[in-house]
């Protein structure tokens, strides 16, 4: 019978643990000059931020902590001062936060367009319609499956405004509230052959994995505007406003705007976003 002394076993264990601990402690340093960017899942899932953030970090030396959550949560984070800079696409909601003083210096960055996508078979017959709310009304009337973001994101806010304009309160088995990001919502819609509302950038980026087509687009209420704002340093002294301002300037400067305008062209044949910085915001508030 093996008579291993408890002491030996303990020594080996302690040595192993000590090694793990010291490695762990060495890793726990916070990077210098870090900046919290609250943004939406659509900007991350499209891959745009993966391209822009490294450029920004290299140029300014700031380390960006990109927290991609739904617009609702990103706004709430900004309202609590838990983020330094906000990149979102819900103009009406953002305006509320500007009005109450949580965010400042809201500037237009870029836009793309929302699309109503769905199964090729188009059971609700919305293909080619010009009025988005009309399309939503037909989907509701036909009780055709529709997947909603259901997560207070910019896309969700736009979707709600379309239902409201059509005078409909969607409910029933056909109305599926995913409660997830745009990528996941699209996957659900594709699996269930359902309709959904999606921004052109994300749709294009995920097209080859989906069994959906764009059925309704072009209505001016489907304009999707992205703005960058700084969390108010007067109200929240702990925010890194220098970094926030640097990011805001960076994303609007002509070189970066050119990168945005070219993003996706090589891979998808068309841009996913259209740069807008410096132009007058054609405010199409989402309500």
């Amino acid at each position: 019978m093996n008579r291993s002394k408890p002491g030996n076993w303990a020594i080996v264990a302690v040595a192993f643990f000590a090694a793990v601990i010291s490695i762990g402690i060495a890793q726990a340093e916070d990077p210098p000059r870090s900046l919290i960017l609250a943004t939406t899942t659509s900007t991350q899932d499209s891959g745009l931020l993966d391209e822009l953030i490294p450029l920004f970090e290299k140029k300014t030396g700031f380390r960006v902590k990109t927290i991609a959550v739904g617009t609702g949560e990103a706004l709430k984070m900004s309202g609590r001062g838990d983020a330094d800079v906000l990149l979102a696409h819900a103009p009406a909601e953002e305006q509320k936060y500007v009005d109450d003083g949580s965010i400042v210096n809201r500037q237009l960055v870029m836009h793309n367009n929302f699309l109503i996508v769905g199964p090729e078979s188009d059971p609700a017959g919305i293909r080619g319609l010009e009025n988005a709310s009309d399309g939503m009304a037909r989907i509701s009337a036909a009780q055709a499956s529709f997947v909603s973001r259901g997560d207070n994101s910019g896309t969700h806010f736009t979707e709600q405004s379309l239902w409201k304009a059509a005078g409909i309160e969607p409910s029933g088995d056909w109305y599926i509230e995913a409660g997830q990001g745009m990528g996941a919502t699209l996957m659900i819609a594709s699996e269930k052959q359902a309709y959904t509302l999606v921004d052109g950038g994300t749709f294009l980026a995920m097209l080859d994995r989906l069994d959906l087509t764009s059925l309704l687009e072009g209505d001016e209420v489907l304009l999707n505007l992205y703005s960058v704002s700084e969390v108010n340093p007067a109200r929240f002294p702990k925010v890194n406003n220098v970094g926030a301002r640097a990011f805001s300037d960076f994303i609007r400067d002509p070189d970066t705007q050119a990168v945005i305008g070219k993003f996706g062209v090589a891979k998808f044949g068309q841009p996913l976003f259209f740069p807008d910085a410096g132009t007058v915001a054609s405010a199409a508030p989402n309500n």
Partner: protein, 232 residues
């Protein structure tokens, strides 16, 4: 089935090519969960042993509370830890949110009750006659506790495996307090969720397989310790 096969091929490819991103994510998962488990052990073992060996009023209530830790939803831990660490929260001034340290804290809170309750059970089930015998042989308290723990090493190591397993597989809490930031707080579980969300299933499967591999490797090592000298 083809998807899983593709994932497996992709996983091996990533590992052999030594894709730095994936390796970084894998090492980080191991370090953070390892550190959290170790710190938990340092507190859980003395705590569990003490509660197991002493009697005091309210003991049953305390034991129940500790045991509830086995069912504690990790996402609830994540929520409360993040609320505490927000800039606007009570510990916001520490600026720990969205750092690896926050992940270790959350994982520690998840792991501690698991190891404590299993240690408690492991020590409590030792034959009381052994304790009496040690005392009558003149063992000092530390010597006695050491021998009791050695005696309970089988279930004790199971406790360590359970604690480590709970945190290496945790995703919700880690996402909330860590933020899933590339190159900083992204671990295997949160990376898998992200890739799935983006529809990149082959990468998600590859990451899952790497995670399973790590979990198995660690468990295998611990089991080897656990089963040493067992003649069966």
């Amino acid at each position: 089935m083809e998807l899983i096969w593709d994932g497996l091929k992709h996983a091996l490819q990533l590992l052999f090519e030594g894709d730095p991103r994936v390796l970084g994510i894998a090492i980080r998962s191991l370090q953070l969960s390892g550190l959290a488990t170790v710190i938990s052990l340092l507190i859980a073992v003395p705590l569990g042993t003490t509660v197991a060996l002493t009697r005091f009023p309210g003991r049953n209530l305390l034991v129940s509370l500790i045991n509830t830790g086995l069912s504690l939803p990790p996402v609830v831990v994540g929520l409360f830890v993040s609320i505490t660490l927000w800039r606007s929260g009570p510990l916001g001034f520490l600026e720990l949110l969205y750092t690896p340290t926050a992940i270790v804290i959350a994982q520690f809170v998840i792991c501690l009750p698991v190891i404590t309750s299993l240690t408690l059970a492991a020590v409590q089930q030792i034959d009381p006659k052994l304790r009496q015998q040690l005392q009558s042989l003149g063992a000092s308290r530390p010597q006695m506790v050491g021998m009791l723990l050695w005696e309970a090493r089988l279930p004790m190591l199971a406790a360590v495996m359970a604690g480590f397993g709970a945190v290496i597989s945790e995703v919700g809490a880690v996402m909330m307090v860590g933020g899933n930031i590339l190159g900083y707080t992204r671990v295997l579980t949160t990376a898998t969720v992200l890739e799935t969300r983006k529809g990149q299933f082959d990468v998600a499967i590859a990451l899952s397989l790497i995670l399973l591999l790590i979990a198995f490797a660690v468990t295998w090592a611990l089991t080897a310790f656990q089963q040493r000298g067992v003649v069966r």
